[in-house]
Symmetry: C2
Subunit: 181 residues, 2 copies
């Protein structure tokens, strides 16, 4: 691994920090890398007892779209990923999950950010209380049967890393291909 | 959609820009969003005629690791995604693909970045010329049979969104579950 020579905080915003770090490689080459550091997050794949996936629609200003996504959110400083998953599901969708199962985790784009996302399957719901963090707002809650989700994946209708990974991981594990395939 | 009120460039770095934008929602609420804008990228899933996937190892300073990943890179201003995929595969692995097929695309983390990645399957190789962009460096090239990749996915040994998405999409389309399942 290259040696870290120095570190500078370049931007300290409400959503993430940007650091610029200077490194020296073993062959003596010096170079810089910029890194976005937003903290880590959870993604929840809620499956109803009718095998429907629960999605949320929200405005995503960064891409200029109303996006269909799985419920997701930041892990608070004092939280375990599983606790964050339960909390975010209740906040965004208004349901509490009695069953939470870890599915996978991933770095979203390690060329320039250290963000990692933990993905949980949620099942067996009871009514909870929907409420939003700050200026976040869920516009709609939408249920799609799992088999229809697989068709949408094939047709490239699911645009976000979080939903592609969560649904494929779940489907592979519990349907075709995996242990139960 | 909320109305854009103003935009400010907060950071202009070698790898990405950061913009802060101010919006007004239909109910009158004003708020800001920060956005990282690194441009778009390609991911290549190279499959040999023995059904092995070709990976690269490189140092990823943002996460402090030597990472095993699929070949990937930025799309240049004058390039189509498919051209970028061919170029990056040759630069990073030193092979030219005679067959390139679009698999899927995804936003990596639309809560704070507009980055989109296009994923291509590459097959039928001939020798090309490996060379690296600037300070990027490929440390190793590693081949793993597709069935072993599926086991590694199940065991959460593949840490990056790009490889989870590319391999599941390919496997679902060409093996179990998909049209040929």
């Amino acid at each position: 691994m290259a040696k870290l020579l120095s570190e500078e905080l370049k931007y300290d915003g409400p959503r993430f920090k940007v650091f610029q770090r200077r490194y020296e490689r073993e062959d003596g080459l010096k170079y810089i890398r910029d890194s976005v550091e937003p903290g880590n997050a959870v993604v929840i794949l809620p499956i109803t007892d009718k095998n429907e996936v629960i999605f949320v629609k929200q405005e995503r200003e960064a891409i200029g779209k109303i996006a269909l996504e799985l419920p997701a959110g930041m892990i608070d400083a004092d939280e375990l990923p599983e606790q964050a998953a339960k909390r975010e599901l209740e906040e965004e969708v208004g349901i509490k999950a009695n069953k939470i199962e870890y599915l996978t985790e991933f770095y979203s784009s390690c060329g320039y950010t250290n963000e990692k996302l933990y993905v949980f399957l949620a099942k067996d719901f009871e009514k909870g209380k929907q409420h939003f963090d700050g200026t976040e707002e869920i516009l709609n809650i939408i249920k799609i049967p799992i088999e229809e989700c697989m068709k949408k994946l094939e047709n490239n209708e699911f645009e976000h890393a979080q939903m592609q990974i969560a649904i494929y991981t779940y489907y592979y594990r519990y349907y075709n291909g995996g242990k139960n395939g």
